[in-house]
Symmetry: C2
Subunit: 304 residues, 2 copies
């Protein structure tokens, strides 16, 4: 274990988390074009949509997974930035009037409200491009062939068979009675695919072997669903002020959620089960997976 990792292991979770959030913010800031560069308004809007908010759950998962395999923190910044930019682009487009038509995100007006619809459309488009660009720069210690695999993984997770596909299924599901299986099918794509990519991209930055990737994949699948179940519970129970986005929106939009299909109590039982499964999937990694264990707990215990 390197000196860096020894120091990291001694930190408590919230100190570690704050450190990763801070370095991710700096890496995002560096990846985004300066608002001094033309087109200035687009660059300003891109920065508005990405910087200064968000829990950075995906970058945290990426760094935590990479740490298991001794990946260098600076190599991990690139995939962490890439997944967070994909996430940010999806939020900007998801909030547009033709999609969820939401006005509040991370406690601020959504991008199309603060700027305008056409700008928000281009912001999402350009953030997606920027995400892929972030993974095309030379990454120290990672072979180009492995980096291509990482780009392939990111694309598969983001596209029509991943996140964007999940959003399409979500759209089609409004007002439809879904089975729990259909709801899961949707969320594995809409939220799960990118969370899984965050974990696996982190692992790819180290020397993760196929069987380790398989265990991590199982962990990530559980955490992806866990994240969504908890989101649905929060949406049903929390206030707009705590969430920083409009609470009760899913019910108002007549969207299928774990809470309205299973009921609140059953949804909470499901989240406990997923949390346990996630911890179990990490067993082969012993103490090196400490941060991933803590993140699974954090995802359940968060209030926003």
């Amino acid at each position: 274990m390197s000196a860096e990792r020894n120091v990291e292991a001694l930190m408590n979770f919230s100190t570690w988390m704050a450190g990763i959030q801070k370095r991710t913010e700096a890496a995002l800031e560096a990846a985004l074009p300066s608002p001094d560069i033309a087109p200035a308004r687009l660059h300003e809007a891109m920065r508005y949509a990405v910087l200064g908010g968000g829990k950075r759950v995906r970058p945290l998962l990426c760094h935590a997974a990479g740490a298991i395999f001794g990946a260098d923190s600076s190599a991990l910044d690139a995939p962490a930035v890439a997944v967070e930019l994909i996430h940010a682009y999806s939020l900007v487009h998801d909030d547009l009037p033709c999609m969820d038509d939401d006005v509040l995100r991370r406690g601020k007006p959504t991008c199309h409200v603060e700027f305008d619809e056409a700008t928000a459309l281009l912001v999402g488009d350009a953030l997606q491009t920027q995400a892929f660009q972030a993974l095309t720069n030379h990454l120290a210690g990672i072979a180009p062939a492995r980096q291509l695999d990482m780009l392939h993984l990111l694309a598969t997770a983001s596209g029509s068979r991943g996140m964007a596909g999940g959003q399409a299924i979500d759209l089609a599901a409004v007002g439809q009675p879904l089975t729990i299986g259909e709801l899961e099918f949707m969320h594995i794509r809409k939220t799960g695919a990118l969370i899984r990519a965050a974990v696996l991209l982190g692992a790819h930055c180290g020397e993760a072997m196929p069987d380790a990737l398989e265990h991590l994949g199982r962990f990530a699948n559980r955490v992806g669903l866990l994240f969504q179940v908890v989101d649905d519970i929060l949406d049903a129970e929390a206030t707009t002020a705590t969430l920083g986005k409009t609470a009760g929106k899913d019910a108002a939009d007549n969207k299928p959620t774990y809470v309205n299909i299973l009921g609140a109590r059953e949804a909470k039982t499901m989240s406990s089960k997923l949390r346990q499964d996630a911890h179990d999937a990490l067993e082969p990694f012993g103490a090196s997976a400490l941060r991933l264990h803590e993140l699974a707990d954090f995802i359940v215990e968060r209030t926003f």
Copy 2:
């Protein structure tokens, strides 16, 4: 010169063009998810937006540039598909009500008219992802490090400092008097960047040296502007039936064009000058650049 290239050199331009268009159609068809895969409606809409139409100018440029350096046609399919998918995504988003609000494209209803706005938004998003994905598969005969450079080039051309940035400048320019310099600044990004990427990605599939890339870059910059000047002339003079998209739209939308800034006669003089510059830039390549010469002429002489 390989046997394949000898045969190609003997073909006339329209036979060569039809061959590249056909193989590009097949490669696009293979790159796009089948409509049998969920989400079926999204996949159907992606295919609607991409297949069965378009001149495939960017794939043609990509193949023609690659041929100069003996690049293998099957290696060229991947970047040809990637640039065409980026182009297709930009058209789908550009046609949306919050952008150009157009109802006709390639003689068919635009994607949001045929499907719906939310689907068209996701189609554009997923096509962009698919473009990057097309360049992440292993390409025979191309080193992974070079392939990463190609992905970087594609991202730079497509993002906020390239095509998406050009669209943002275009939006901001509606109803504004622009100088010819400002108009050029916009078009170098909006149309020129991806045309340049098509040419350079083709060259990267062969063993193009830095000085050759520089000459090709100059050619591509001229051709990119040429394409736009001709587009503006066609928009002002052609009919909707010939164009397959709404004619006279730029003037109706109060958009700055070469025709309304320079007048029709001066715009035509400019296109002759650009065409000559494009041919001149190809001089170092001799007869091997035949198809690029022919494409520059085709771009001027097209009527749609």
